[in-house]
């Protein structure tokens, strides 16, 4: 990472996009406190992560396609364990709500390891919503979900941002999805933010037909042999 600086405001959904290896997951790992930046700081709900790690992380949560929950616990057991970790009050009722919201009631006694990848993603999202985080981090949350379920998931996350006023940082390779749900987009390459703005504004400003076209042109430019971060 080099000079990366941004904020996610309450109720805002920010898309973090870029080619593979651009540093999207690295940024998310830094915000989650599992990778220490060599310089700079991370603040969650105004709390400095380096100084008050536990307090800061209590205001966040995440779901990542590449980080499944333990497969040897059932859906309900996983939600209970992580609900205890996040100190969720009224945990049993919260679990029931999330099981209903994410269509997981019939899987509550099923071990996560035997669920389909799409079902596992829904469990991860339910876990991520347990503590109504002030900052929700989503690393390709719809990567393994069918289009109908993905649309449903997107609607729930948009509702979460609007209703609970949580900020959302969302990485995705699906530019149509990013254009649909994100209020702001950060284009990342080689560990730097190259472009930042509202999806429609970025498309207009750079004369692209779609966000995907803009992504491809930026990616080609930065990944070309003589192309470096501008």
């Amino acid at each position: 990472m080099d000079g990366v600086s941004f904020e996610v405001r309450p109720g805002e959904i920010v898309g973090l996009v870029g080619p593979n290896g651009a540093g999207k997951t690295t940024i998310i790992n830094m915000i989650l406190g599992v990778l220490e930046p060599t310089a700079g700081y991370v603040r969650i709900a105004g709390i400095d992560l380096a100084r008050s790690r536990s307090q800061a992380l209590a205001h966040t949560n995440f779901a990542a396609a590449h980080v499944p929950l333990p497969g040897n616990l059932t859906v309900e057991q996983n939600l209970r364990v992580f609900g205890l970790i996040y100190g969720v009050t009224g945990l049993s009722a919260r679990i029931e709500t999330l099981l209903a919201d994410y269509d997981l009631q019939r899987h509550r006694q099923t071990k996560c390891g035997v669920l389909s990848s799409g079902e596992q993603t829904r469990v991860s999202l339910a876990k991520a919503m347990l503590n109504r985080p002030r900052l929700l981090l989503l690393d390709e949350p719809t990567a393994s979900i069918d289009p109908a379920s993905a649309r449903d998931i997107r609607a729930r996350i948009v509702a979460f941002a609007a209703g609970d006023q949580g900020g959302v940082l969302w990485t995705s390779h699906n530019m149509y999805e990013v254009a649909e749900v994100c209020h702001r987009v950060l284009f990342l390459a080689h560990g730097k933010i190259l472009l930042e703005g509202e999806p429609d504004s970025l498309i207009r400003t750079h004369g692209a037909a779609t966000l995907e076209d803009l992504f491809v042109s930026v990616a080609h430019e930065t990944l070309a042999p003589d192309g470096g971060p501008k």
């Binding site: 690295t26 790992n29 989650l32 406190g33 599992v34 990778l35 220490e36 790690r53 536990s54 307090q55 992380l57 209590a58 995440f62 990542a64 980080v67 499944p68 929950l69 333990p70 497969g71 040897n72 616990l73 059932t74 057991q77 209970r80 364990v81 992580f82 205890l84 970790i85 996040y86 100190g87």
Partner: protein
């Protein structure tokens, strides 16, 4: 500040895994029971071929039981940690408000609880089948168990730190630790049998004082409480040291990103 609900989360997760999992429950009692049966018959045989006046049951079978107890405490802590290694749960756990002290407390409570099952099985078997009476050790049994508890906890936390630092494959370095230590702590023989350099190491190991104390009681000399107190002090120091080592390794894993790339075993 430690929060009880977060410590409980670590314990509850282990409880869920143990409940209804015979492959996790059986080893808690099976291996120690086999050890007691094997050494029970060995001591019974030794009592028949040696002269009267020395009872091998409290000297040898008691030693096996106490040593197995330490091993079970250690393995209880490390196995609870390995569950998170095996299920690749580090990112889920360490990207939460859970602190290291809460996590280690949860592992220790789990390890101590599971080891008590093994201890109960050993005691029942050794007492009913081979006539071992722990009443023979008197009040010294309290510091015996305390020192072994603390030593097992310290070894368990140290083992977890080693695996966190060097990756899942280093698990195989952890299982034999009790076997490596046993010649030094004089489980079956007095420390005076050992060469000088081994005795020097033995005096730095808290369990040595338990087994020397046990032999002192069996020989009718009473419990060396001063030495046992020193052993208890050493064991407390081990626990503090092991926690510091784990915290240091954890900070290294965060600083370098090892936790986020744990399956790669190193970040280089």
């Amino acid at each position: 500040m430690m929060r009880a609900s977060r410590v409980a989360a670590v314990v509850v997760r282990q409880f869920y895994l143990l409940r209804g999992s015979p492959v996790r429950l059986l080893p808690m009692v099976a291996w120690v029971a086999i050890d007691i049966v094997l050494w029970g018959f060995i001591t019974r045989y030794l009592n028949t071929v040696t002269g009267p006046g020395f009872n091998f049951v409290p000297a040898l079978l008691g030693a096996v039981l106490l040593w197995d107890f330490l091993s079970r405490v250690m393995q209880g802590v490390t196995t609870a940690f390995f569950e998170d290694v095996w299920s690749r749960n580090f990112l889920n756990l360490f990207a939460t408000p859970l602190t290291i002290s809460e996590y280690l407390s949860g592992l220790v409570i789990t390890g101590v609880t599971t080891s008590l099952f093994g201890l109960a099985a050993m005691l029942i078997l050794a007492t009913t089948a081979f006539g071992l009476s722990f009443l023979a050790y008197g009040v010294a049994l309290v510091p015996f168990v305390l020192v072994l508890f603390l030593s097992g906890i310290a070894l368990g936390i140290l083992g977890a730190a080693i695996v966190l630092r060097f990756g899942p494959a280093s698990e195989w370095l952890i299982w034999p630790i009790p076997a490596v230590l046993s010649p030094f702590v004089g489980v079956f023989y007095p420390l005076s049998i050992l060469p000088g350099w081994m005795q020097a190491i033995a005096h730095l190991l808290a369990p040595s004082y338990v087994f020397e104390g046990m032999r002192s009681i069996v020989a009718g000399k009473g419990a060396p409480m001063t030495e046992l107190a020193f052993g208890a002090g050493l064991a407390v120091a081990y626990v503090v040291l092991a926690c510091l080592v784990f915290a240091r390794v954890y900070r290294y894993a965060i600083r370098t990103g090892l936790i986020a790339r744990y399956s790669a075993e190193s970040v280089s």
